[in-house]
Symmetry: C2
Subunit: 163 residues, 2 copies
């Protein structure tokens, strides 16, 4: 067995570093591929953008409605941003701002009946796109991916949180 089979620690460290980078690039490529597909389909089939779809999906999960600030937190964007996206959805009649009975500074944003209908149709299509995008993976592979992503999420959250 040749000596060089065992790399010195510096070589190994560098190789490991490069692996993390490749892993990230591959993950980014996958996500962009899927995300761009979804954006294009949302646009072409429903004439809506991803941020607007995301806001609606937050509201669907919270039928009692959410305050602007809560939306901002959940979507991890600034308040001004939520204002703009909400304005657009209000203009389209998909959500409403109701005055909060508890706090006159705040609004409670809710899906309208039409917004709910509209969202359900979109969500169904969205789920279908996912099924076809992931169709090349068998169940075991999908489970494995799901589990590994959980580990990654914890790992990355620790780092990203610091700031």
């Amino acid at each position: 067995m040749p000596k060089n089979t065992i790399p010195d620690s510096e070589t190994r460290a560098t190789a490991e570093h490069a692996k993390d980078l490749r892993l990230w690039l591959r993950m980014l490529a996958c996500t962009n591929l899927i995300e761009n597909h979804v954006r294009a389909k949302l646009r072409s089939d429903f004439d809506i953008t991803l941020p607007r779809f995301d806001l609606m999906s937050q509201l669907e999960r919270s039928p009692q409605g959410l305050k602007m600030g809560e939306l901002s937190k959940r979507m991890m964007v600034t308040g001004g941003n939520v204002t703009g996206i909400t304005d657009q959805l209000v203009r389209e009649g998909l959500v409403v701002r109701e005055d909060s009975p508890k706090d006159r500074r705040a609004y409670i944003v809710k899906l309208t009946a039409e917004g709910r209908r509209s969202f359900r149709r979109m969500a169904e299509a969205h789920e279908g796109w996912m099924v076809s995008l992931f169709a090349g993976m068998d169940e075991k592979q999908r489970d494995e991916l799901y589990d590994m992503l959980a580990v990654l999420k914890n790992s990355a959250a620790k780092v990203a949180a610091k700031r």
Copy 2:
């Protein structure tokens, strides 16, 4: 053993569909977490945006330079977009447009010496961020993730390509 242990095919299908959706949402959450972290660091530490960094990284992989159209293909964005990003990098002295000797319609975009220096510093830092973001995964987990992403990439590419 109760009968209902084995779900009927419709129930199973719906459950599987929902799983694909959850898988995607988890993946998206992970990627956004990391991507936002990277964007913020690139901005704060190097005053550069992700698309500009990406363009430079394409050039670093092709020291002979790339035509605008090649950049456009590799970055999966339109030509007009590449023009804008390139203009900015030229203004900052990080890349140059050289006339193609073969084709007077075309430019060959290359990193300048300063661009190369600058990119290397950024890439090193970038790799370090990746190492820390993935630090919570052991080697086996990272390999597993890497492999599953390869499967996913193939699967999704098949669907996304059709259009």
